[in-house]
């Protein structure tokens, strides 16, 4: 599978929101688009799924021009863009039926698929309520269920954990991690939570002012982790680089294979925590870009 963006530019009047941007994703895995507010993350995803037409440039999915084969390509894409809203007088189940049928599912297959995806996202219990009565978190789970339908090989998710409680967020992260277990999909998601990015991603692309500032493709064996707390207790791992941001904060570049142990070790130590604060993340990203 391959996603290729060639010289994509998106202008809103005189304002350039995106580009020129070229990107090739040919390896399965989770690719995170990281960046501060206004970096162009959502614009990029909207262009990628056809909600927005690029002012110039082309998009190819598995060698096929996206604009010419939009319907066919979207059948094999699971999409969650922005914080989704659904038709308020339909139930969650009806929404899943609607999108499932458009993806070619019907009859028993459709029923089973609805059950499968809602179990994964934990939305089964409120599936038969009208969407108008859903909370933000419930809508988000329903949106992820829609994206998961038909087990698409490509998934585009825009801040999938937005609006979901912390425990729910962790559940969603595990869902994504599980989906990526066998590296059978390309999952592109955006976030401004560095910890989330570093935990899940095989590749991080940092976007700033609509262009790619950094791409860890060149750094595929490593991940980025932000740590706050007692930096003395970080432990030592092979080829771990620590960039100190302050007395109790650091950005750590660590080999992927060491990450699980590192996570386990420092989460057991109460004086070291992962904390995400947007201003600090932006600062961290800037620092990293300069690095």
């Amino acid at each position: 599978m391959e996603i290729k963006l060639e010289n994509i530019v998106k202008n809103y009047g005189k304002f350039r929101a995106l580009g020129p941007l070229s990107l090739t994703i040919s390896q399965n895995g989770i690719i995170t688009i990281l960046g501060p507010n206004g970096a162009g993350k959502t614009t990029l995803l909207k262009v990628l799924v056809g909600l927005s037409k690029p002012s110039s440039g082309r998009i190819y999915i598995n060698g096929k021009d996206f604009q010419n084969n939009r319907k066919e390509i979207l059948k094999n894409m699971g999409v969650l863009v922005e914080q989704p809203e659904f038709y308020p007088y339909l139930t969650g189940r009806e929404i899943l039926e609607f999108s499932g049928k458009l993806k070619g599912l019907k009859g028993k297959n459709l029923e089973e698929e609805i059950k499968r995806v809602s179990e994964i996202t934990g939305s089964l219990e409120f599936l038969d309520k009208k969407v108008g009565k859903y909370s933000r978190g419930m809508k988000q789970r329903l949106g992820i269920s829609v994206a998961l339908e038909n087990d698409p090989p490509i998934m585009i998710l825009d801040e999938p954990t937005f609006g979901i409680d912390p425990i729910g967020s962790l559940e969603i992260r595990e869902v994504l991690k599980n989906l990526n277990k066998n590296r059978e999909k390309i999952i592109i998601f955006t976030t401004h939570i560095v910890e989330e990015a570093s935990y899940l991603s095989d590749r991080i692309i940092i976007l700033e002012n609509g262009i790619i500032k950094n791409d860890t493709l060149n750094d595929s064996d490593y991940v980025l982790v932000k740590v706050t707390g007692n930096l003395i207790n970080l432990g030592k791992y092979q080829e771990m680089t620590i960039k100190k941001l302050s007395d109790n904060q650091a950005l750590i570049r660590i080999r992927k294979e060491n990450l699980p142990d590192f996570n386990r070790e420092i989460t057991q130590k109460n004086d070291i925590l992962f904390i995400e604060r947007s201003s600090q993340v932006e600062e961290a990203i800037r620092e990293l870009s300069d690095h």
Binding site: K46, S52, P84, E85, Y87, L90, E97, F98, K101
Partner: protein, 275 residues
């Protein structure tokens, strides 16, 4: 493609008929039906009291036809309210309510989406007016013992064409805006102010009957009973039903509006940015 169309149509239709707007329209229609039934029962024998003296000419006024004319006159206004509720926010709500992020990222042509939603809006409008039509038939048969089926069928056929045209027109207006409020206001203003103003100016200044205006064409719904056009200020009128040519003329106007407005809406939606 047809299964996609039916899938989209049935879900939009469900969303429409479960909505508060549908119940509001039903209430309006029921109120209108009750009032018209009251009028029919109370005034069926006193039709001449309702008419100004100049209308009682050599032709004996058929009381039943006049009563059906009045029913039809009210009925021709009801789709305007229905279309404002169902069709004005049809496309603009996809942007304002952000459901467009969901539906436009599905593997389906935007053209099919527009057409399916259009048909759902037409269906739900027709259903809401069935109450009124049913009340009319019952009242007339009860009071007069029979009903002019020929004219009734023509009137209903013209009503359906009018609904098709009006829904397409409001869909076009809706597709232009990203906010429901602007779409609502524009629909009302265009239909009740601009059309009427153009009609007035053309008739008073140029003695020209603006047959191409939707509100003028809609008068055929009542004119199939008695050929009095309430939008024209002429002293020439006929107490006979409108002829077949009048019916064909209005039908052609409706069809032109339907096609032109639907095509316009499709073009706008195909190029619409979801933001």
């Amino acid at each position: 493609m047809s299964s996609n169309f039916f899938n989209i149509y049935s879900h939009y239709f469900r969303n429409y008929y479960r909505s508060k707007s549908f119940y509001l329209i039903l209430i309006i229609v029921v109120l209108a039906s009750v009032l018209m039934s009251y009028l029919t029962f109370k005034y069926s024998n006193r039709v001449s009291e309702m008419l100004p003296s100049r209308l009682i000419s050599l032709s004996k006024v058929n009381s039943e036809l006049l009563m059906m004319y009045l029913w039809a006159y009210i009925m021709s206004s009801l789709p305007v309210f229905a279309s404002v509720f169902f069709s004005s926010p049809a496309i603009s709500s996809e942007i304002e309510m952000r459901t467009g992020y969901f539906v436009f990222s599905q593997p389906v042509d935007r053209t099919i989406l527009v057409l399916a939603k259009y048909m759902a809006a037409v269906t739900v409008t027709i259903i809401s007016l069935l109450v009124y039509a049913f009340s009319e038939v019952i009242s007339i048969i009860y009071v007069y013992g029979f009903i002019e089926y020929n004219q009734l069928l023509w009137s209903m056929a013209m009503l359906i064409l009018f609904i098709l045209a009006l829904t397409a027109f409001t869909f076009l207006l809706s597709s232009i805006f990203n906010k429901n409020l602007y779409a609502y206001i524009t629909s009302f203003v265009v239909y009740f102010v601009i059309f009427y103003a153009v009609n007035l100016i053309l008739y008073l200044l140029y003695n020209y009957n603006a047959f191409f205006l939707l509100n003028n064409a809609a008068t055929i719904i009542e004119r199939v009973y008695i050929n009095i056009n309430p939008t024209i200020f002429t002293s020439n009128f006929s107490l006979n039903p409108a002829g077949i040519n009048d019916i064909i003329l209005s039908s052609v106007v409706f069809i032109i509006y339907t096609i032109a407005c639907l095509v316009g809406a499709i073009i706008v939606v195909e190029n619409k940015e979801v933001q």
